[in-house]
């Protein structure tokens, strides 16, 4: 079975575009509800309305350090992702080929997946510099997801195709590049989508707790400290937007890479 989580998201996004009017209407209703609740609360320091939040968003964009914060958070996430992707590819492929290797590595992955992110951050705060903590957290969050998807992709390669390759005496390198890798691609995209979702949140949590000078998480923490709730929500909006943008890019890339799928 080929995982089609990303395909499902694609369908949801297309559905969103197709039923744009309904989606816009729903968004408007939510904004009105938000405004109503904010007015009922009567305090912008507890729940600001959408207008003042939008004003904060514009102010944030104009502030010094905005681009550095966005850029550095992206850079931390990207560094963690590249490290997780390379090691996940290596360990995942080896685990896919060798059940013994997988058995040796499985406890590590299970432990990583089930350890609370906060526990890892607290340890990382002791071990690393503040700006390295989010990178480390991103790596540890994404690595097991990517590894398990890659292992699964290698394992699920159609045995009939592998037998065909054996019968036609196709060399192992070509079997890997011509059969295993393409068979792996849908699993890889699904893994990247899930891993980046987790990783992006983890980087921001890491920044909130480690407080590097620049970063979306640091800015959120700063806003929270001064009870600048509208600014906090504006930063949250920025973080969600980047996550959504990445998802869209990934879906487009997947469409190009998996042209052979009906």
């Amino acid at each position: 079975m080929i995982p089609d989580q990303l395909g499902e998201r694609y369908r949801m996004i297309t559905l969103f575009s197709r039923n744009r009017r309904a989606s816009i209407a729903s968004g408007v209703v939510l904004l009105i509800l938000w405004e109503l609740v904010a007015r009922m609360m009567g305090s912008a320091q507890i729940l600001p309305g959408p207008v003042s939040t939008f004003r904060s968003l514009v102010e944030i964009i104009g502030q010094d350090g905005f681009l550095q914060s966005i850029g550095l958070t992206l850079l931390r996430g990207l560094t963690g992702f590249i490290a997780a992707f390379i090691s996940g590819l290596l360990i995942g492929i080896l685990s896919g080929y060798s059940a013994t290797f997988e058995a040796v590595f499985r406890p590590v992955l299970v432990t990583l997946r089930s350890t609370p992110v906060v526990a890892i951050i607290l340890l990382a705060l002791i071990w690393f510099r503040v700006d390295q903590v989010p990178v480390f957290i991103a790596f540890l969050t994404m690595f097991p997801v990517l590894t398990q998807n890659i292992t699964e992709g290698i394992r699920q390669t159609d045995p009939d195709l592998l037998e065909m390759a054996r019968l036609y005496r196709i060399n192992p390198v070509r079997v890997f590049t011509g059969i295993h890798l393409p068979a792996l691609t849908p699993y890889l995209f699904s893994g990247i989508s899930t891993a980046v979702g987790f990783g992006w949140r983890a980087v921001i949590i890491g920044e909130v707790l480690s407080q590097p000078r620049y970063g979306i998480g640091s800015m959120m923490q700063g806003a929270q400290s001064y009870l600048l709730v509208s600014e906090l929500i504006a930063w949250t909006f920025i973080a969600v937007s980047f996550s959504y943008l990445f998802e869209l890019l990934l879906i487009q890339f997947r469409k190009r890479m998996i042209r052979w799928k009906p």
Partner: protein, 231 residues
Amino acid sequence: MMNMKLDEIDFAYPGQQMVLDHFSMEVTPGTITCLLGPSGCGKTTLLHVIGGLLKPQKGHLLGFDQEVMSYIFQETRILPWKTALDNVVFPLLDLMPVFQAEELARDLLIEMDMKNEINLFPHQLSGGMKQRVAIARAFAYPSTMILMDEAFTGLDSSLKRNILNKFINTWKNNPRTVICVTHDVEEAMLLAQEMIILGGSPLKILKRFSLSELNGSAIHGKIMEYLHQPS
């Protein structure tokens, strides 16, 4: 050409009854031999022994070059991420330069009446077209023998006839020994130059028909008689 012979072959799956017990059979090189028998009688096991996928516990295979065999299966086993052309080219890449492999593959696909589908992916092809890609791949591979395992099962009768005709025409242009395992009498009769009826447990040859006998009258009835005789 050296005769191809299975000599006193014994084969059993671990912990199970003998499938082949002192089984001997000759194949005439350069012909299409159909092994006809009921489902589950052990003819696929026999084909796997011929192809070297299964090692016999005893006996010898003489004159079979297991290094250079092509295969056509019921499931086409073509790669979903490669076009029809690239599927035919794929097994050739270790054997010849890409341009030569592509030229050969293109010629065979055109011979299989797939000129307009050369660059399509498998999901864009019908079941019959996919099987034609598998046939083109088998002929493109520089083998001395093609082994076919229920290759046309599941195709409807008119489509099957159409593909069998294309197979035979391609074979005439690229002759080699073909061993075809099937339980389908119609398929065997359309394809075979020699037909071997198999049955029993362990597997044995019930009857061998030559081309002249296959062209004779009332052959269908005779085949059915052998196929349905109690083992």
